[in-house]
């Protein structure tokens, strides 16, 4: 078992973001974590990846508890966050190098893997360019390459294809499928494109208002709801109501920046 979560809960002063969820992900599995906005997906990922302390419940990542051995957990996973997390003032190569040094990948191996991975995501020719000149899709590809540099056993992707064109989305998923087949890497991802989950995932969990309301293979969920596609099953399970997500301070700031441009 690569990820094991039981009765995980996160309470904030004004809401229960994650409410006693339990699930597990096998080694080599592709697992989709779906839910409407504000359902608790990102909060869950933050707890799994040592960024946030759970209020209660238990997590095991690759056999390690994030609260007891955070660094062993951190060594076990790679992550692509929902928002960009590159240093714009560094080049693509320097972003990779920075990551490799932090994860203590020895220099020779590091240089070899950086080249391999940058070629893999087709950014090797652009390695000396500052990231601030990259498009959204290029940044995403670089983040994927970076997340794989230390050969993690688990790869977390929080809406990795958000805002990308179909070509780039197609590319990214074919990289990931390749990787899963060749290296047996476990993939845990969230997305709003339900058809991506249907195509890619072996197991799907649907979370709503902090609780897991469905868990199983895409086929099982369709059967249960008597629908033809996972998207219809998703709507059947979560309803038609549109959710509002509260923006935190960082998001508010980002919005303001967008308006000022």
């Amino acid at each position: 078992m690569m990820i094991q979560v039981s009765k995980l809960t996160k309470k904030f002063p004004d809401l229960v973001a994650v409410d006693g969820i339990s699930f597990s992900v096998d080694e080599g599995e592709i697992f989709a974590f779906l839910g409407p906005n504000g359902a608790g997906k990102t909060t869950t990922i933050k707890m799994l990846t040592t960024l946030l302390k759970p209020t209660s419940g238990k997590i095991l990542i690759n056999g390690f508890d994030p609260q007891i051995e955070p660094n062993k957990v951190r060594q076990s996973f790679g992550i692509v966050f929902q928002d960009p997390s590159l240093d714009d003032e560094l080049t693509a190569f320097e972003n990779m190098e920075f990551h490799g040094v932090l994860y203590k990948v020895p220099k020779d191996l590091r240089r070899k893997r950086i080249e391999e991975l940058l070629r893999f995501v087709e950014l090797w020719e652009r390695r000396k360019d500052l990231v601030k000149y990259f498009s959204g899709g290029m940044k995403r590809r670089l983040e994927i390459a970076r997340g794989l540099l230390h050969h993690p056993k688990i790869f977390f992707l929080d809406e990795p294809t958000l805002g990308l064109d179909p070509q780039t989305r197609y590319h990214i998923w074919s990289y990931l499928r390749d990787l899963n087949k060749k290296e047996g890497i476990t993939i845990f991802f969230t997305t709003h494109y339900i058809e991506e989950a249907e195509k890619m995932a072996q197991k799907v969990a649907i979370i709503d208002r902090g609780k897991i309301i469905a868990l199983g293979t895409p086929a099982l969920l369709k059967e249960k709801t008597k629908t033809d596609s996972l998207e219809e099953a998703f709507i059947a399970l979560t309803g038609h109501e549109i959710r509002d997500e509260k923006a935190n301070a960082v998001e508010r700031m980002r919005l303001r920046r967008r308006f000022h441009r």
Partner: protein, 247 residues
């Protein structure tokens, strides 16, 4: 160690790449040196104080280092906004190492900025004592460390830029104006003497002034001890606050 090094290196690369920031933050100290240094020079001379530029320059150096250092520390808010902070926080490196790497990086940047101003001040006619230059470097670095750690501590509890102007108006400016950077602390009203004595920058200014041109208010060992103790303290507090950051 390598983690601290790469974090330090990152700060330096960012500094050398943002020319506009470098030049922008040189404008203020140079303006002070020119405007105040030459403007008040004659009056200061007539009052028997000697060469005002000589007196003023160490104060302006301390101000430069302080301002750059506080902003280097506060850069964490930027990293938080642009997401890069998450990348460092999920890495298998202790928060303490991250804090140390960043602080050393920020302090080095502040020190370089101070050295550039020192170099330019020579062209304005500033004449430092050459042999105690290493001592001046030490004080500049202490001031740099202290204020980078302070900036980091503040940035760890601030969520966005709302409090940013406040820090500028209610921290940096008062510290500068009430530090003895611009005027001698001797013979001031008691309130002023007291404020200057609880202002960390005063000790940096005083130590720098002693090592560059002679003349001290508190005494060299007091300057050094106070700064060293305060720096250790604020580093500890900053590390604690930084380790509590949740995203």
């Amino acid at each position: 160690m390598s983690a601290i090094y790469i974090l330090w290196l990152r700060q330096l690369k960012r500094y050398f790449r943002s020319r506009s920031r470098m030049i922008g933050s040189l404008a203020q100290p140079l303006l002070f040196l020119l405007g105040l240094g030459f403007g008040f020079g004659p009056i200061y001379q007539r009052a028997g104080g000697g060469n005002y530029l000589q007196f003023l320059t160490p104060g302006i150096l301390a101000m430069t280092v302080m301002t750059t250092a506080v902003f280097s520390g506060i850069e964490i808010i930027w990293d938080r906004q642009f997401g890069f902070l998450k990348e460092t926080l999920v890495a298998p490196v202790s928060r303490l190492q991250i804090m140390i790497g960043r602080t050393l990086g920020g302090a080095t940047v502040a020190l370089i900025q101070g050295l550039i101003v020192l170099l330019i001040s020579l062209f304005f006619g500033f004449q430092p004592k050459i042999f105690s230059l290493p001592l001046a470097l030490l004080f500049m670095f202490l001031v740099a460390l202290f204020f980078t750690a302070l900036g980091t501590a503040i940035a760890s509890v601030l969520e966005d830029f709302q409090g940013f102007q406040l820090i500028m108006q209610f921290l940096i400016m008062p510290l500068f104006f009430l530090s003895g950077a611009l005027f001698p602390l001797q013979g001031l009203p008691k309130v002023f003497t007291f404020i200057a004595a609880v202002n960390p920058l005063s000790f940096g200014v005083d130590g720098l002034r002693f090592s560059l041109i002679n003349g001290t208010h508190f005494g060299l060992s007091v300057d050094f001890l106070v700064l060293a103790i305060l720096t250790t303290l604020v580093l500890a507090i900053g590390s604690f606050l930084f380790s509590k950051i949740e995203i």
